[in-house]
């Protein structure tokens, strides 16, 4: 080996060492005043779609949900309205607090799960399938009543272990690409991925109408999209790991207004 070759090797090794040091440096969480909803990353046309209820296809889901809210189901022969009354009053702010701790289950549940718990226990009806039109519609109708209200999940001694598990999932490198959620959504939200803006991943508008899906979908559907993109062995719909991640993401978006039903590209 000549001295110049040795020199190149040493420089190369140094460069590798520096690069790997840089890679493990984690950028800080996004400062509260720099947080942006996905809305702010959208183009003019998509924003206009969300802003006008008569142009927002998510409205169909809300209207379907309103009809389901009043429909009597199950062997108890009760509708949601029989217990909860007018959703505009009783459901105001509810979606902003979910996932919330459920004492009987000893863990946080998301709004979809809470709706199915109500169906099973109070209406004595079969649970609605996850990601099905009816469950999304009821969720959208309930969440619509919180539009404009600040996200406010409770992190206390009961929810903290689940919250910490969600946070760990967000920061853990996983899958074949060895990626963490935070590498895109904390560290690189000013950049683009395949021409599209990388957003900060604040779940402000779920269930939302996604143009790519041509339908309304849940936060879990979106999470599972990202997770399969990271080539991770995916969590099944309704998995506790996803609910924990939802809880962390809602805390991360604390104080941001609910936009349901949002529109996203």
């Amino acid at each position: 080996m000549t001295p110049s070759e040795r020199c190149i090797l040493v420089v190369g090794a140094l460069a590798c060492a520096i690069a790997s040091t840089l890679l493990i440096v984690r950028a800080a969480e996004i400062p509260l005043n720099e947080r942006k909803s996905g809305y702010e990353f959208m183009g003019r046309d998509s924003r206009a779609m969300q802003d006008d209820d008569t142009a927002n296809p998510g409205t169909f889901s809300v209207l379907d949900g309103e009809a389901l809210w009043k429909r009597k189901v199950g062997t108890a022969g009760k509708s949601c309205a029989d217990c909860h009354g007018e959703a505009s009053e009783s459901m105001k702010g509810v979606a902003a607090r979910y996932p919330a701790f459920n004492a009987a289950r000893g863990r946080p549940v998301n709004l979809d799960q809470q709706i199915n718990i109500c169906r099973a226990e109070r209406q004595q009806a079969t649970p609605l399938p996850l990601e099905g039109k009816d469950l999304l519609a009821l969720n959208a109708y309930v969440a619509r009543q919180s539009r404009g209200m600040p996200i406010n999940v409770t992190i206390d001694e009961r929810t903290r272990p689940f919250f910490e598990a969600g946070r760990a999932t967000f920061y853990r490198r996983q899958g074949q690409l060895n990626f963490a959620c935070a590498q895109c959504h904390d560290d690189n939200w000013k950049e683009k991925l395949a021409g599209s803006p990388i957003t900060q991943a604040h779940p402000t508008g779920y269930p939302l109408y996604r143009l790519e899906w041509q339908s309304v979908g849940s936060l879990q559907r979106r999470l599972r999209n990202c997770i399969s993109g990271m080539r991770v062995d995916n969590y099944p719909p309704g998995a506790p790991e996803l609910v924990d991640l939802e809880l962390f993401l809602m805390w991360r978006a604390r104080g941001m207004p609910i936009e349901t039903p949002a529109v996203r590209p």
Binding site: D52, T54, N56, P57, D64, Q214, S215
Partner: protein
Amino acid sequence: MARALINVPPKAKKGEIITIKTLISHEMETGYRHDNVGKAIPRNIITEFVCTYNGLEVFRAELFPAIAANPFFTFNTVATASGTIEFKWTGDNEFSQTESVNITVE
């Protein structure tokens, strides 16, 4: 029956240009997709949309499989007289839906 959302100003001045927006709930299945066992999913789309103002056609569109689900149309017309603006969507599987709104022109 599909849900439709219509946005027309309830009142306008004679000769004023008004903007009409319509959104209809429809899956717009292309006919090019297959289900999870490989069976072709038959085409199911809206093929035509017509808007008439007091019986006079003011807007017409032909729709094709590349148009996204829940077709949204926005267009302008001139407020000529008080009356009814009617919207008709027709499509595959004998899909047909009509909606109408009233407008007052002063």
